[in-house]
C-alpha cells in the first residue's frame, strides 16, 4: 500500500491547503533542539565504544609526487601507537556529491600538499596525533603547477554555448559593460569537523559518520573498501553542518573502516580543523568576464558570461559558475564560456551553493554597473529585464517571483532613500546602499520515506535523509502531522540510517521538497487506509481523530496493528518542460571607513520565495545563514594559497575569516507566499541555498554606493577599498 508519484504533470491538487491540522508552515521549534542544546544528541565522533582506538591522518608535505618510503617503525610502539596504515584503498580526494562510487584512491600518489597519505592509529588520540606529526616520510617529488592563471586551461566543448551575435550586440548597444570579477576559494567550514567511527561485526561494517547523502555514501564506502554495499550500514542522525563538504564520503570514513578491519577494533578518525581546510572540498576560485549590453531604454540585448575555474587534473567536477546565467535575465545575444585550469591544489567540489553563490553574486555586480551606465535604478533595471520565459531554452518558468521580491523587498528596506554614490557620511563612515537578486535553480530528487501509524495513534516517519542543521526533523514532522491530522508531539522522525528507505540526501537545496514529498505521499497512503477503515471516501483528520460524516473516531485504536506505507517521489516531465528556480532580493546598507577602508554591514534585508514554506522558522534561518555567509564572501572569506606550492596557508578559523557576530548586523528575512505546482507534489521548492546566491553582491554594490569604489576582486578587504579612497 505504497504511493509512487512521478512529476509528469503539475500538482494542481492543493491538498495541504485544505487539511485541518494547520501546523505546516508554522514556525515550529525543532524537535531535536532540546537534545542538541543539552548535549544529548550524540554526534559521530562522540560515541563511547568499548575498545575504541584513534586514528589521525598523515598529510603529504609536497604538492606532487610519490610517497617513496614511510618509516612506520619510527613511531610504532611509542606511547601506544599501534600501527601505521597506508593502504591503496585509502582516498586521495573526497567523493563528489552523488558520485555513488569510490573517488580516486591510492594515497601514495600525491596530487596536492595536504593530501592524506597514511593513518597512524594509537590507543589515545594524543598519541596518534603526535605520531602522525612525527612520522618520517620520504618522497619522489614530481613536477607540478599551482597557479590557475599560469596554465593553458581546458575548454570543454559541452560547457560552451552561444546564441545570436554577442559581439555585434555589444558594438551596437546604447550601454554596455565589459568587466571581469574574481572570487577566491572558499571552504565549507562546517562547525563539526569530518568524523567517523568504524566497527566491524564479521563481514558487516557499521560506520557512524557525518555525511549528507547516505544512499550514495554507502555505495561510495563499499566500493572504496571493496565489499558489497549490503554489508555497509552508515548512521548519521546528527550532522553539525555540511555545506557541501559532506556530500560524498571523505578520507576518514575509508581510513577508519580499513584500520578497524586490520586491527580488529573500533577505530575513530576525525579530521583536524587544518585537515578540513586542506583535504575536504574547496570551492574553486573564479575569474568571470561579463559582457552585458542594453538599449537606450535599458532592455538588455547581450549577456556574456565567461569563466575560468580550477581543479585537480583528472577530476570531473568543475564549479558550475554559469548555472543560472541562461535564464537570469533577458537578452537575445548570449555567450557562455567555461574553462578549467588544472592545478595541484586541494580538490575542488561543492561548497555552499556551487554555481550561483559566486556566479549570481558577480553577475549582480555587473548588472549594477550596467544599470548605472544606463542611468536606471538598479531595482527597476532588473525588473525591466526579467524574461517572460527562459531566454535560452524557450521553456516557461514554473513560477517566477523575482519582480515581487524586488518590489516588496525594496519597499520594506526603504530603498527609495538611496542616494548617488559617495553622498552620505556619518563621522568617519561613508554610508551606502546596495541590492542584488537571489537566483537558485530548483531540483526535485528521487526520494523514499516510510510512514507508520502505530495502533496507539502515534506516527513514525523513517528515511535515510539527513538533518545537517537545516531542520529536516522539523519539516518532516510537520508534513506528517499535517497530512495525518496528529499533533506534532505524536510524530517521531528517524533519520540518517542507511537501513531506512533512501531519501535524496541534503544537498543542492532539494532535501526539504523532495523528502517532504515522499513523506507526504506515504502519509496520503496511510490516510487512504484510514478512510477505508471509516468506510468513507473523504475524511477530515485533526488532533488524532478521523471525522467522516457525523462520526469522529480516535486514531488510537482504529487499527489493531501498525499501518505502514512507503512514499516514493521521482522527478518527471515537469522538470524538463519548465524552467524551475527559486528567487529573492537582497538589500543592504554598509558603512565604509573613510580612514581605513574597513566595511561594516549595518543592516540587511532579504525577501525570498521558494514555493510552499514548510516551516517559517527553519526556512528563514536558512536564509539568515546564507546571508551571513554572503557577508563573509563579500568582506572576509578567502582561501590563501601559497604561490609556490599551492598549499592553503590559512588553515584555521583564526585566519580563515568567517564572519563573527560583530560582523553580522540585524538581518531580516521575509518569505513570500507561493505555490509551485510544477516543482513538487507539495508545491515546495528549494530554499536552503537561496540566501547566499547573490548576497555578497548586495554588499559590494553598497560599498560602491558608499564610496564610489568598485571592488571587482572578492573579498572586499580594506586594502582594496583603501587603494582607491581619497587621502
Amino acid at each position: 500500500m505504497n504511493k509512487h508519484l512521478k512529476m509528469d504533470r503539475p500538482a494542481t491538487e492543493r491538498f495541504l491547503d485544505e487539511t485541518a491540522q494547520n501546523v505546516l508552515g508554522t514556525p515550529m521549534d525543532r524537535p531535536d533542539g532540546p537534545a542538541k542544546a543539552a548535549g544529548q544528541a550524540t554526534y559521530a565522533h562522540e560515541w563511547q565504544i568499548e575498545g575504541l582506538c584513534h586514528g589521525v591522518l598523515v598529510r603529504a608535505t609536497i604538492p606532487a609526487g610519490r610517497v617513496a618510503r614511510i618509516d612506520a617503525d619510527a613511531v610504532t610502539g611509542r606511547d601506544g601507537v599501534l600501527r601505521v596504515i597506508s593502504d591503496p584503498r585509502m582516498l586521495r580526494v573526497p567523493a563528489q556529491g552523488g558520485a555513488n562510487e569510490a573517488p580516486d584512491q591510492g594515497p601514495d600518489e600525491v596530487a596536492y600538499l595536504g593530501q592524506p597519505i597514511a593513518l597512524v592509529v594509537a590507543e589515545t588520540f594524543e598519541a596518534a596525533r603526535d605520531g602522525a606529526l612525527a612520522l618520517p616520510v620520504e618522497y619522489d617529488p614530481a613536477d607540478f603547477t599551482v597557479d590557475p592563471d599560469a596554465v593553458e586551461p581546458e575548454v570543454p566543448k559541452k560547457k560552451q554555448a552561444s546564441q545570436g551575435d554577442l559581439e555585434a550586440a555589444m558594438r551596437e548597444a546604447a550601454h554596455s559593460v565589459d568587466v571581469t570579477y574574481t572570487t577566491p576559494g572558499h571552504n565549507s567550514a562546517a562547525m563539526e569537523p569530518h568524523a567517523a567511527i568504524a566497527v566491524w561485526n564479521g563481514d558487516d561494517l557499521l560506520l557512524r559518520g557525518s555525511y549528507q547523502m547516505l544512499k550514495y555514501n554507502r555505495n561510495e564506502l563499499a566500493d572504496a573498501v571493496g565489499i558489497d554495499p549490503a554489508h555497509v550500514r552508515i548512521l548519521s542522525p546528527y550532522v553539525g553542518g555540511g555545506f557541501g563538504s559532506k556530500l560524498g564520503i571523505t578520507h576518514e570514513a575509508v581510513a577508519a573502516a580499513l584500520a578497524s578491519k586490520e586491527l580488529g577494533r573500533p577505530v575513530s578518525v576525525t579530521l583536524s580543523r587544518q585537515q578540513v581546510f586542506e583535504t575536504t572540498m574547496r570551492r574553486s576560485e573564479t575569474r568571470q568576464r561579463f559582457r552585458l549590453a542594453c538599449d537606450a531604454e535599458g532592455r538588455m540585448t547581450a549577456v556574456g558570461h565567461e569563466v575560468l575555474v580550477s581543479q585537480l587534473p583528472g577530476q570531473q567536477f568543475s564549479e558550475p559558475v554559469t548555472q543560472a546565467t541562461p535564464f537570469a535575465y533577458a537578452g537575445p545575444n548570449r555567450v557562455i564560456g567555461h574553462r578549467i585550469a588544472r592545478v595541484n591544489r586541494t580538490c575542488a567540489g561543492s561548497v555552499r551553493a556551487p554555481g550561483e553563490a559566486v556566479g549570481i553574486t558577480a553577475m549582480e555586480n555587473a548588472m549594477d554597473e550596467l544599470a548605472e551606465a544606463a542611468g536606471i535604478d538598479p531595482v527597476q533595471f532588473r525588473i525591466l529585464n526579467i524574461p517572460e520565459k527562459d531566454p535560452t531554452s524557450g521553456k516557461p518558468f514554473s513560477s517566477h517571483t523575482l519582480e515581487r521580491a524586488l518590489r516588496e523587498g525594496a519597499e520594506r528596506f526603504g530603498w527609495s532613500e538611496r542616494r548617488a554614490p559617495g553622498q552620505r557620511r556619518e563621522g568617519d563612515w561613508l554610508i551606502g546602499m546596495g541590492m542584488a537578486s537571489a537566483i537558485r535553480v530548483n531540483i526535485l530528487a528521487e526520494a523514499k520515506a516510510r510512514v507508520t501509524l502505530e495502533p496507539d495513534g502515534r506516527v513514525l516517519v523513517e528515511t535515510d535523509m539527513t538533518d545537517i542543521g537545516t531542520g529536516t526533523y522539523s519539516i518532516l514532522t510537520q508534513v506528517a502531522s499535517e497530512t495525518l491530522g496528529v499533533s506534532t508531539d505524536r510524530v517521531r522522525v528517524r533519520l540518517g540510517d542507511t537501513d531506512l528507505p533512501p531519501g535524496p540526501g541534503s544537498g543542492g537545496s532539494w532535501g526539504a521538497a523532495s523528502s517532504g514529498s515522499a513523506v507526504y505521499l506515504a502519509a496520503r497512503a496511510v490516510r487512504d487506509r484510514i478512510a477505508e477503515a471509516m468506510g468513507a471516501d473523504e475524511v477530515t483528520l485533526k488532533d488524532g481523530h478521523a471525522i467522516a460524516g457525523n462520526r469522529r473516531v480516535d486514531l488510537a485504536g482504529l487499527f489493531d496493528g501498525p499501518v505502514t506505507a512507503e512514499g516514493h517521489v521521482e522527478p518527471g516531465k515537469t522538470m524538463k518542460e519548465t524552467r524551475q528556480s527559486s528567487f529573492g532580493a537582497y538589500f543592504c546598507e554598509v558603512a565604509v571607513n573613510a580612514v581605513t577602508g574597513e566595511t561594516r554591514v549595518r543592516r540587511m534585508h532579504g525577501t525570498f520565495a521558494a514555493g510552499r514554506i514548510l516551516n517559517a522558522k527553519t526556512a528563514s534561518s536558512q536564509c539568515l545563514g546564507g546571508m551571513t555567509f554572503g557577508i563573509g564572501m563579500a568582506l572576509t572569506e578567502e582561501l590563501l594559497h601559497d604561490p609556490r606550492d599551492g598549499h592553503i596557508v590559512n588553515r584555521d578559523l583564526a585566519e580563515y575569516h568567517l564572519p563573527v557576530n560583530a560582523d553580522v548586523p540585524q538581518i531580516d528575512v521575509v518569505l513570500l507566499e507561493e505555490r509551485d505546482d510544477y516543482a513538487s507534489p507539495i508545491q515546495a521548492k528549494g530554499i536552503g541555498e537561496l540566501g547566499i546566491c547573490g548576497a555578497a553582491g548586495a554588499v559590494t554594490n553598497a560599498i560602491y554606493n558608499a564610496c564610489g569604489v568598485r571592488v571587482r576582486d572578492y573579498p572586499a578587504t580594506l586594502d582594496k577599498v583603501l587603494a582607491v579612497l581619497p587621502d
Binding site: R129, V595, D642, V649, V660, A662, L718, L722, A723
Partner: protein, 328 residues
C-alpha cells in the same frame, strides 16, 4: 601530544626552580602555548604551571600601577583605575581575541605570545623562528600578516599583541625575576629584541626567568586612543594598530607617545616620531611628517604593501583625533 612532565608550582621560588633547564616552559592561561604544543610547534619536556603563584592583583605603585603577571586580560580591561587613567590599555585589551580567551589569557602570557605567521604554525614549512637555520618561507609566500618595519632577512613575522602596544605607549616596565631570585625591571621598549640573525630569540628574558609584573607609570597624557584595523569586526589580529598617549600643553603637544602593532616583529615605537611631535602645534603637515618619519624605512613584501599607506592614514587620523580632543 609529545609526553611532558607537569609541575604545579606553589610559589615563585618553586616555579623558578622547576623552570630551569632547556625543555621547561611556564604555563599561564595556556591559550597560546597549548595551541602550539598540539601542532608540535613547541615541544616542551616540562610544563611548570604558574597559576597558583601569588602574581594576581592590580595595586598602586607610587604614582603608577603594578599589574601582577597573572592578572587576566578580562580583569585588567575591566579594572576601574585602568579604565579611568589608562583607557588606551583597556581599549587595546578589549580589541583583542574574544571574551573566552581574555578570561584565560594573562598579562605575562600576552607579552610573550608568539607570532601568528602561517609558516611558523606549520611544521612542514621551514621557519627560522621555529627551527633556526631552516629558512624563512614567509618571504615569497603569503605575507598579509607580516612586518613592514624591523624585520630581517631571516624573519618578517609580526608580534600579534594588542595589549603590549598600549603598554609601550604608556611606557610600561616589565618586572622579571631571575633564577638567582633577584628582581629587575626592564622598560618594555627594551624588552623585545630585533629578529636579526636569531629570530628565535624574542625578548631579553633569560632561560627560566619569570615575568612577575608589569608596572605602569602615571600616564603622561590624558588623551589616549587605541585604533585597531583588522580584517573583521572582532576576533582578528591587527593589520595595523596605533596606541597614542598625548598630553596637550595649551595649543601645543606637550607629550606624545605612539606605539604600533601589526607592522613589526615587536610592538613598534620610534622615539624620533614622538620627539618630532613634542612641543609642536598640531597640524596635518606635522602629522604627515611624523608619518614620513615612522615609515621612512618601511618595506612591503607584496601581500602586506598596503600596510604602509594604511599605517600612514591611521597615524594621521589618530593624531588628529587625539589633538582635537576626540579621545576619551
Amino acid at each position: 601530544m609529545k609526553r611532558f612532565d607537569y609541575a604545579r608550582a606553589a610559589d615563585v621560588a618553586e616555579a623558578l626552580r622547576e623552570g630551569q633547564g632547556d625543555g621547561a616552559a611556564f604555563i599561564a592561561g595556556g591559550t597560546n602555548l597549548l595551541d602550539l604544543m598540539k601542532l608540535r610547534v613547541l615541544t616542551p619536556d616540562r610544563l611548570v604551571d604558574i597559576n597558583r603563584l601569588a602574581l594576581g592583583g592590580i595595586e598602586r605603585d607610587g604614582d603608577g600601577l603594578r599589574i601582577g603577571a597573572l592578572v587576566t586580560n578580562s580583569d585588567l580591561a575591566a579594572d576601574e583605575t585602568v579604565r579611568r587613567d589608562y583607557p588606551v590599555l583597556s581599549r587595546a585589551l578589549l580589541a583583542g581575541a574574544s571574551g573566552q580567551l581574555r578570561n584565560k589569557a594573562t598579562t605575562g602570557g600576552n607579552l610573550l605570545q608568539r607570532t601568528r605567521c602561517y609558516y611558523f604554525y606549520d611544521i612542514a614549512m621551514p621557519c627560522n623562528k621555529r627551527d633556526p637555520g631552516s629558512g624563512c618561507q614567509a618571504r615569497g609566500g603569503v605575507t598579509r600578516l607580516h612586518a613592514i618595519l624591523g624585520g630581517s632577512d631571516k624573519c618578517i613575522a609580526t608580534h600579534p599583541s594588542d595589549m603590549a602596544v598600549a603598554m609601550l605607549a604608556l611606557k610600561a616596565e616589565v618586572e622579571v625575576e631571575g633564577t638567582d631570585g633577584a628582581r629587575r625591571r626592564v622598560p618594555l621598549d627594551d624588552f623585545y629584541v630585533p629578529p636579526g640573525d636569531t629570530p628565535q630569540v624574542e625578548t631579553v628574558l633569560g632561560a627560566g626567568e619569570l615575568i612577575t609584573a608589569v608596572i605602569l607609570p602615571l600616564p603622561a597624557g590624558d588623551r589616549q586612543i587605541y585604533a585597531k584595523v583588522r580584517d573583521r569586526a572582532s576576533y582578528a589580529f591587527a593589520l595595523v594598530s596605533c596606541a597614542a598617549v598625548i598630553g596637550m600643553d595649551g595649543d601645543r603637544i606637550g607629550h606624545a607617545a605612539l606605539a604600533f602593532g601589526g607592522i613589526a616583529p615587536r610592538p613598534w615605537r620610534n622615539a624620533e616620531v614622538d620627539g618630532l611631535l613634542t612641543g609642536q602645534a598640531p597640524s596635518d603637515d606635522l602629522f604627515r611628517r611624523a608619518a614620513d618619519l615612522l615609515l621612512a624605512d618601511a618595506k612591503g613584501h607584496g601581500g602586506n604593501d598596503f600596510k604602509i599607506p594604511l599605517a600612514r592614514r591611521v597615524l594621521i587620523d589618530t593624531l588628529r583625533k587625539a589633538t582635537r580632543g576626540d579621545a576619551a
